[in-house]
């Protein structure tokens, strides 16, 4: 039980598959779609930042690029409001990857706090561009083709597409974790110069990880754009997004495979739910804050790490007890 066994993963996917059948309220289905988008983005963010230790607070650049490239492609290709729009999702991801190359080349020249600050600065450059450039529609926003699906059905295709993207993100993250490349990212996190001295081409490895993490986050932005039907620069390039994705990973377990899934599922769904239920007097913000503080207070390294240590302790204790029992039986 120290690592989620395959059975648990299958159960988790099955739950994901049947959830929309049980949950027919469109408001809840909408929460589910957002939760999946954020969980996928958090997983992908963690695949670079969690493994390498380079905390990227400009993930909104990828998200917004995915959203805007989707909107602009739909507009210029004169696409209709139907399921074919989903073909733009991988393209949004690829657009984000292309943008990630120059961004990474600049930001990855520096480390630690400087890296964090640079990513934030680059993020605002993108946001301001989206607000001020003519071809983005400016602050009036960019409309996407309206999809005339029934309100009771509208969320379902989005749900399954996003679930697919999330599964892809988790598989990618697990694959990286098992690869030599992933080991190199972990080595960079622990001591970058030492890794360089052991033959790790750190600059290339870091850039590759950075660009790879852009793929799913860009796809998330693309789904968001189609789902919303209209995107605005301050929401597509949202600083709250940067922070939320990072917080989800810290909450669930920074640098672990399941951490972002736990963090994303709990934080986004509870935030959305609390927003809907206790929107009066911003009570939801207080509840959300309390939940967050409790976890940080009692499980500072995240839920996943805490759980793993808890199980290890229990196993060790059980073994010790058994050993003691055996000794007791002999005497």
């Amino acid at each position: 039980m120290r690592k989620l066994s395959n059975l648990w993963w299958v159960a988790l996917v099955l739950c994901g598959l049947v959830l929309p059948l049980l949950m027919t309220n469109p408001a809840y289905r909408q929460i589910a779609v957002y939760t999946l988008i954020f969980t996928a983005c958090a997983t992908s963010w963690n695949m670079f930042s969690g493994y390498s230790g380079y905390v990227n607070l400009g993930a909104g650049v990828f998200y917004g690029t995915g959203a805007y490239s989707t909107g602009l492609l739909a507009e210029h290709l004169h696409m209709g409001g139907n399921g074919t729009l989903f073909w733009l999702v991988p393209l949004g991801g690829i657009a984000a990857m292309i943008i990630a190359i120059p961004v990474g080349l600049i930001a990855l020249r520096v480390r630690r706090h400087t890296f964090v600050v640079i990513t934030i600065a680059i993020f605002f450059v993108f946001q301001l561009t989206a607000i001020n450039a003519g071809w983005t529609g400016g602050s009036a926003g960019l409309p996407l083709p309206f999809i005339p699906w029934q309100a009771s059905y509208y969320q379902v295709p989005f749900y399954y597409v996003t679930l697919g993207v999330l599964i892809f993100a988790v598989l990618l993250s697990a694959g990286v974790r098992r690869s030599r490349f992933g080991l190199q990212l972990l080595a960079i996190r622990d001591d970058e110069d030492r890794a360089l001295g052991l033959g790790v081409q750190v600059a290339a490895v870091k850039l590759t990880g950075f660009v790879m993490s852009a793929l799913v986050i860009g796809m998330g932005g693309a789904i968001y754009a189609i789902f919303q039907g209209q995107i605005y620069p301050q929401f597509a390039f949202d600083p709250i997004f940067d922070i939320t994705v990072a917080l989800m990973c810290f909450f669930g377990g920074f640098g672990t495979l399941v951490g972002p899934i736990i963090g994303g599922l709990i934080l986004e769904s509870s935030q959305q739910y609390l927003t809907v239920t206790y929107s009066n007097g911003s009570l939801y913000l207080i509840l959300f804050g309390v939940l967050f503080l409790l976890v940080i207070l009692f499980m500072p390294r995240g839920i996943a790490v805490y759980a793993r240590e808890y199980w290890t302790r229990r196993e060790t204790k059980a073994q010790a007890d058994q050993a003691a029992l055996a000794v007791g039986g002999q005497s």
Partner: protein, 259 residues
């Protein structure tokens, strides 16, 4: 004996401080070369220049006939020059075995890392053999951060060795570890040298240096002062002057005079 690794007339200044000043050093193939000198005489800077961590202002570094002046550390390591650090540097939050695996690739391209798994069976076998060699095999599954200082030093030696470099630069292998472990490290170095590995060792422990090194170079104020066998170096009055003139390192002087 042919020269395997050499620095020629290397100079390096940090601001106004001349850490290296026209310094030269030859490491003969198959030798254990010692590098001693008072604190601040530029030993570690010379290491950094030779392994690509610091670019020299002037002079050249060559390895096995190739000019490696200013080459990046990963390139230098790929060619076959391994090193350890004065303050032991291991990867604290991955396991001991994973620490070993980081080094196994040596000059593998980064693209290959994307498509291959973390380890191959042969790499694990090689890694375990070296861990066994330094006596850490039982701790392979442990997170490296939980090792003691001495164990970390042995791990650092092991993961440099797993990449099979031709020459190994050790920065104070005996620093801060107990006498038993110093002797173990000394034995390991001797054993590896017998198998054909070349060593360059910076060390303040004179007894250790005099016992295991074939030749010793003394550095003083960024320059190579004297080079010779341990006996020759010990007898050279300029060496004593360097240590006394350096002032602060009295222990070394006594050891040098007595040892």
């Amino acid at each position: 004996m042919t020269t395997l690794l050499s620095a020629k007339n290397v100079s390096k200044a940090f601001g106004g401080v001349h850490a290296l000043n026209d310094c030269s050093l030859d490491v003969a193939q198959g030798s254990i070369t010692g590098l001693i000198g008072p604190n601040g005489s530029g030993k570690t800077t010379l290491f950094n220049v030779m392994t690509g961590y610091v670019k020299p202002d002037a002079g050249s570094v060559s390895f096995d006939g190739n000019d490696i002046t200013g080459a990046r550390p990963n390139k230098v390591f790929g060619l076959g020059v391994g090193r350890t650090f004065q303050l032991t540097r291991i990867f604290a939050r991955i396991t001991v075995l994973e620490n070993m695996l980081v080094a196994t690739q040596r000059d593998e391209s980064w693209l290959r890392g994307l498509t291959r798994s973390k380890s191959s069976p042969t790499e694990v076998v090689a890694a375990m053999e070296w861990l066994d060699f330094v006596g850490l095999a039982k701790l392979a599954k442990l997170e490296a951060g939980s090792l003691s200082y001495g164990q970390s030093k042995l791990l650092e030696l092991a993961y440099v060795l797993v990449a099979n470099p031709d020459v190994i630069l050790l920065d104070e292998p005996a620093g801060g570890v107990n006498l038993t472990l110093i002797n173990i490290i000394g034995e390991k170095i001797k054993a590896l040298n017998a198998q054909g590995k070349t060593f360059l060792i910076v060390e303040h422990n004179m007894e250790f240096v005099m016992k295991i090194c074939d030749t010793v170079t003394v550095m003083h104020q960024g320059q190579d002062l004297v080079a010779g066998t341990p006996a020759e170096v010990r007898a050279n009055p300029a060496v004593l002057d360097a240590y006394l003139g350096g002032g602060e390192d009295d222990d070394d002087v006594e050891e040098l005079a007595n040892g």
